[in-house]
Symmetry: C2
Subunit: 207 residues, 2 copies
């Protein structure tokens, strides 16, 4: 069914265009693209026009914060601008979505640094493709006391973690920590993988 819309010569040009455009998005095949297109007909013209404008404007105007690489409307993002944040702590994350997951907890008051991915020789991502030098510059500036590495536990994530730890060794006064690994709240032990359980037992806490 993937190529249904390709085979149909007598299809509305407008419908062909929009399904091709939607199908450019990740995880959206031709069939879902058609379903999304049909849904647009249930929305009023103004709200679809506003959707179109948001898409174009986002791509054209969005910036990366020149300090932390977070997405931003200005040169510096709202978090880096906020004078209430603790400027001695930087939490390093892979991507912007991770930053928002941490922000949603409303518990972390430090700054962030968005790497923009993880080191992956397989996918051709070298350390120089990530915002690592920018992180080092921020630390070299001297205010930072702690760097929290909140990187995923994939093979690429671990590679990135070790690379960062090596680079950070040149600042012995800066504490380097990693977010705690363990059993998530609400997770049932029965379904948790062995590595996580092993780690959780080794790092048990006295009550």
């Amino acid at each position: 069914m993937l190529h249904v819309t390709h085979k149909i010569k007598k299809m509305s040009k407008l419908l062909q265009d929009i399904t091709s455009e939607f199908a450019k998005l990740p995880g959206i095949g031709r069939r879902t693209a058609m379903r999304l297109s049909m849904h647009l007909l249930r929305l009023d013209t103004d709200s679809v026009a506003s959707m179109a404008r948001s898409i174009e404007r986002f791509r054209r105007d969005i910036k990366h914060c020149r300090h932390c690489n977070n997405l931003s409307d200005e040169e510096v993002c709202p978090i880096c601008m906020d004078s209430d944040r603790d400027r001695t702590t930087i939490c390093v994350v892979e991507q912007v979505a991770d930053l928002f997951s941490i922000e949603a907890t409303q518990q972390y008051r430090g700054l962030y640094h968005v790497l923009g991915g993880v080191i992956s020789p397989m996918q051709g991502v070298a350390p120089s493709d990530l915002k690592i030098d920018l992180l080092m510059e921020r630390i070299a500036a001297g205010d930072v006391r702690e760097v929290i590495l909140a990187i995923s536990t994939s093979v690429e994530g671990e590679t990135t973690l070790f690379y960062l730890m090596n680079r950070l060794r040149q600042y012995p006064d800066v504490k380097v920590t990693s977010i705690a690994r363990g059993i998530g709240f609400g997770d049932e032990l029965e379904y948790v993988d062995e590595l996580t359980i092993t780690h959780a037992i080794m790092n048990r806490r006295e009550l």
Copy 2:
């Protein structure tokens, strides 16, 4: 996680806008909306602008064919315009996507009629909400010899089928048929539901 982006006061306005817009689409939650937004940053500005234009133009300019209710750029759709199609046969489908599935086979040479849904008292869809009167007008015009009902086998589909059969009885010269039900090619008997198997055995063919 559903409300992550709502809680973040210090998020880029552009990013907030676009994730809200994507989240209006069916089956797309906040998290997927964020993933789609991030993907736009990997496309060039022009191709995102072209996506935005297609979305706006589609909603603004698409029409429904005044004969068969298919989506169309003009008042009459390309299929109804095509003088090579057999005008004595109409295949009735629920939605435009069904029409394209049949067109993809390149076997059917008649015309279509898109109902725009099925009768569903539960969802408040009455016969008058569907393009049934338009179908009757086409048949009343006199050229039609056969109406093929290609309606799904859901409860609502069956209701719609019986309703249509009743309405069509006033044209005794018009043959009314339904698409064949049976075991699909490639389906394994082991996994086919009982109703389909029962039907397939009752309607067995001599070889």
